[in-house]
Amino acid sequence: MEGKSEELEGEMEVEAYRRLFPLQFYERHLSDSVRPDARPLNKARPTSIVPAPLPSADASAMVKIGNTTMLSGIKLEIMFPSSDSPDEGCIAIDFHMPPICSPMVRPGRPAEAAPVISQQLNNVIMSSKLIDLKELSIASGKAAWMVYLEIYCLDADGALFDAALLSAVAAIAHLEIPPVCLNEEGRVVSSQGQAETNTDNNGNTNNSNTEKRKLTLGSIPFSLTCLLHKQYLLVDPTDEEESIMPSLLTVVLDTSGHLISLYKPGGPVLAYTSTTKNCVALATRRVKELEKILKEALSEMDVIEN
């Protein structure tokens, strides 16, 4: 294979070479410290957050990292708190890969990656203590908020987890809890507009007021996926890169510098201490970048609302 590719090289078009000998194609780029999309190895793709694209959801955000596009939406519903934690709400996170996002996904045959990323998101958001579940309580033991956070992949082009996490935290950061109160039957009703009558004779409601309130967030987790190949370390891989060189390492750090997750699911390349340290250092830099992008997007959201 190796020898044959050398032979053919001279007389082959670039696109054909890329298709037939993808690994050799990439290695020739990597040896010059550049990637086929003209990025240096340690540079992430341009990242943007579209604030609140869906007015009908309680909160939403769309994130683009290069071509990878994620749309997250939050729907709030009421639940009965469980008996072991009567003053806590709940958050349910789900990640979907609908067939529109990639030629690999077909209806009725869901993508293998979807439940894995879903589980990873759950783990990271719970581990980071981003949301205090007590803040989701409406009336202790009677009612609490259930936050349904769903992330849809609209376009899959690598580093899916990074984009999914960013869109999830952007939606959570933007979430506002609407004012509600309990009625006589123990059901929760919206107290918007009828606030005066309800707040007076409802002594047993807590956390119900007439204003929308934002959640107080803990330190926010951000992630960076690195691709390991031989001695090279590629940041923010595209789908093509992921399929050719399968060793990935995802570092999740929060804004206070804690390590939330260091995720390396196998792969032929082993991560040694120096490589791991490099990845953490790159992630630290990326966290600063993403924090700034998120902050700008949130202030933009506030401008839209007011």
């Binding site: 694209p53 869906l54 007015p55 009908s56 959801a57 939403s60 071509n67 596009t69 749309l71 939406g73 939050i74 729907k75 709030l76 519903e77 009421i78 639940m79 009965f80 934690s85 806590e88 709400g89 709940c90 958050i91 349910a92 789900d94 979907h96 609908p98 067939p99 529109i100 996002c101 990639s102 030629p103 077909r106 209806p107 009725g108 759950n122 719970m126 579940l133 259930m146 349904y148 769903e150 849809y152 609209l154 376009d155 899959a156 082009d157 609407p178 509600v180 059901r187 929760v188 009703v189 919206s190 789908d239």
Partner: protein
């Protein structure tokens, strides 16, 4: 850890149904009866697909991806003509009350029937073209938007068609005809009519009527829809031209 979800029963507290009111011939969103919503169309929304389009009509937002022509499923019999496979699904947060997010079988088959007549299937024998739609937000008249958006995506993918397919629906309220209805209007309409047509060829590929209609009303509604369809066709053509000119 609070990952134990799914089994917990929950309800939405904030859903209050708004009834549409028509005062002085003006609808709740400020439109006149025979006025369509502002439309935004863009091709090439999804890079992973062969062709794609994004459509936004008021609050109704739809993405359609087209894949192929590609190898048909192994179980499929040999076929001289190409196959068309359509699937429509909604996001769970698209509707005012949280939905299930599964495939909408009825819309899938309606979309298939609407597009089938316009595509030159004989140009890609033995293979399948997949048309997948995802409704990001449903603000009424989803199906007409999905159909128009799908034909735009097919054009973006370079699939040969006789003409662009456009679609518009009309709601009937006693004596009034309301074009391009929003969610609230659709939920208390007396009847609805949807036309799918190829405006340049002046051909109708699909016509659905529900509810009670008198013959003159049907005629009036059809004229209204066909007029709107040809305008929508012009907008879509413009969108394709723009996309092509930016490429050069």
């Amino acid at each position: 850890m609070a990952s134990k979800s799914g089994t917990i029963s929950t309800y939405s507290p904030l859903f209050s149904r708004k009834n549409p009111n028509f005062t002085n011939g003006v609808r709740s969103d400020g439109r006149h009866f025979h006025e369509c919503r502002l439309a935004f169309l863009r091709t090439g929304a999804v890079n992973a697909a062969s062709g794609s389009a994004y459509a936004e009509f008021g609050n109704t937002k739809v993405i359609v991806s087209v894949f192929g022509p590609r190898e048909s499923k192994k179980a499929m019999m040999y076929s001289d003509t190409g196959r068309l496979n359509c699937s429509v699904s909604f996001t769970t947060f698209s509707t005012p009350i949280r939905g299930q997010g599964s495939e909408h079988k009825e819309f899938s088959s309606m979309l298939h029937k609407a597009l089938e007549g316009a595509i030159m299937l004989e140009t890609f024998p033995k293979t399948t073209v997949d048309v997948f739609a995802l409704v990001l937000e449903s603000g009424g008249s989803e199906l007409p938007v999905i159909i128009s958006c799908a034909s735009l995506a097919l054009a973006d993918a370079g699939i040969a068609m006789f003409d662009l397919v456009t679609s518009v629906s009309v709601s009937c309220f006693k004596d009034d005809l309301v074009i391009d209805p929003v969610f609230e209007e659709e939920s208390c309409q007396d009847g609805s009519l949807m036309i799918v047509c190829m405006p340049l060829r002046n051909e109708v590929t699909q016509l659905t009527v529900t509810g009670e209609w008198s013959t003159p009303k049907v005629h009036e509604a059809m004229d209204l829809c066909l007029g709107a369809c040809s305008k929508l066709g012009d907008i879509m053509r413009l969108c394709l031209k723009e996309a092509a000119s930016t490429l050069q």
